[in-house]
């Protein structure tokens, strides 16, 4: 993933893609998602699981997610956490579990 796409993703608000992430379970902070469209079953790591569960309540920007993770795991909201968050968001998007919220008047979110 290149830094240009990282910078772009900082500006978006992300939400759960309910088409692909309709079924999930969580045990001890680890989320397993079943995607009925692709047939994939995915276990999310601790960070991705926490992000996923946070976004179930409402869409969030990367900055909001970083603050939440810092609070949940008692970490500093520093560059390293921002980078980890960015990677996690990228992987969640690659798995089609999250999508950006389209701006008013624009095309469907990717």
């Amino acid at each position: 993933m290149n830094s240009a796409s990282t910078d772009t993703s900082q500006q978006h608000t992300w939400r759960i893609n309910r088409h692909h992430a309709a079924l999930w379970r969580s045990w001890d902070g680890e989320v397993v998602v079943y995607d009925d469209i692709s047939g994939d079953t995915m276990k999310l790591d601790i960070i991705m699981s926490e992000i996923f569960r946070f976004m179930l309540h409402c869409p969030a920007t990367p900055a909001e997610i970083v603050r939440h993770l810092a609070s949940a795991f008692d970490l500093k909201a520093d560059e390293q956490l921002r980078h980890i968050t960015s990677l996690a968001l990228h992987r969640l998007r690659e798995a089609a579990l999250i999508q950006t919220i389209p701006l008013a008047g624009s095309q469907d979110a990717r």
Binding site: D36, I37, S38, G39
Partner: protein
Amino acid sequence: MRSLLPKLLRRPEGFACLTPDRWDLVIRQARQAGILARLCIQLDDLRILKRVPEKPRGHLEAARTLAQKHARDVRWEVACLCRTLEHCDVPLTLLKGAAYLLADLPPARGRLFADLDILVPRSRIDEVEQILGAADWVSAVTDFYDQRYYRRWTHQIPPLRHIRRRSVLDVHHTIVPPTARAPVDAATLATESLPLSHGGRLHILQPADMVLHSAVHLFNDGEFDHGLRDLLDLFDLLSHFGSRPAFWETLALRAEALSLTRPLYLSLRYLDRILGMPQPCELREALLRWQPPAAAQAALDALFDRALLPDHASCDDYLTGTARWLLYVRAHYLRMPLHLLLPHLARKGFRRTAAADEKNDRRSRQAQIERLLRLAPSRSDDGSHAQAVRQRH
């Protein structure tokens, strides 16, 4: 017992009172024919399924579950394919199973899908092959001779397999081999194709072409593993489209325009003989025109009456193996003019290696054709397929 399943399909209320030993045969024949799931759905529609005894019902429902999985997989594959080709403006026409599924047509119900079949213009096929190659589709055919065989003698490039998903994609450029006696100009298919609702990206053949494609696949390709299933596809398609205004007239005109009257004639004849579907009165005169001479008709009946039954020992008689064999030869004859066929077979004979893979269906069948043309048929030649050793009860 040979015609047990077709008879029941003609009168499905008969399923409600089958004895256990009859169910035993029906399940096995239907499984072999690839129509177990379709049968489950049909019985459910007729509200007979709940009355089927527990054990056969278990198999019917298990088959339906598997068919539902196949359908999910095909939808996903089509979605992935659209994404792979989204920046390329090549028109994509879905064929066969995928078309039935995405267009919500009756032959999709209870179907077990094998490969995904698409049609693209011949002029764009290299471009499409390149894009697919960059998206993890690799050739499923590694042998150089087989590669050349596909590209020269058939109407598709060699099948592609996705590295991760393991699905198989057949990219066609027309619906009959280009060397056939009556080649079909794919451009005429394209101009009449209909868009699906995927933002117009995907197309399907218009109804008459869909029927003709199904007919030519069944009656000219020489593969009868799922002959009864393919015949039921035609049954479903014609039942579905037959009530549309002017459909039969369009179908007849189209068959004549594409020189596909023989496969259409055979379809209607065997739909009547095997499944009891009456021939449409709208085509009475056309059918008389298209009819082959009586001797040829009798020969074809002897072959197709056998080959279109399930490929199961309980449906075979002593001529079934030979019938399937002769139809396979006929398909090759239709694909390759005789003056090309014999040199092709001769060349194949020299190239045969000692390590030939017995599971390579087409290769071993070609070897059998060679034996047939060079030698008198031997007593031990029971016409068995390369893939499966058939047992005779």
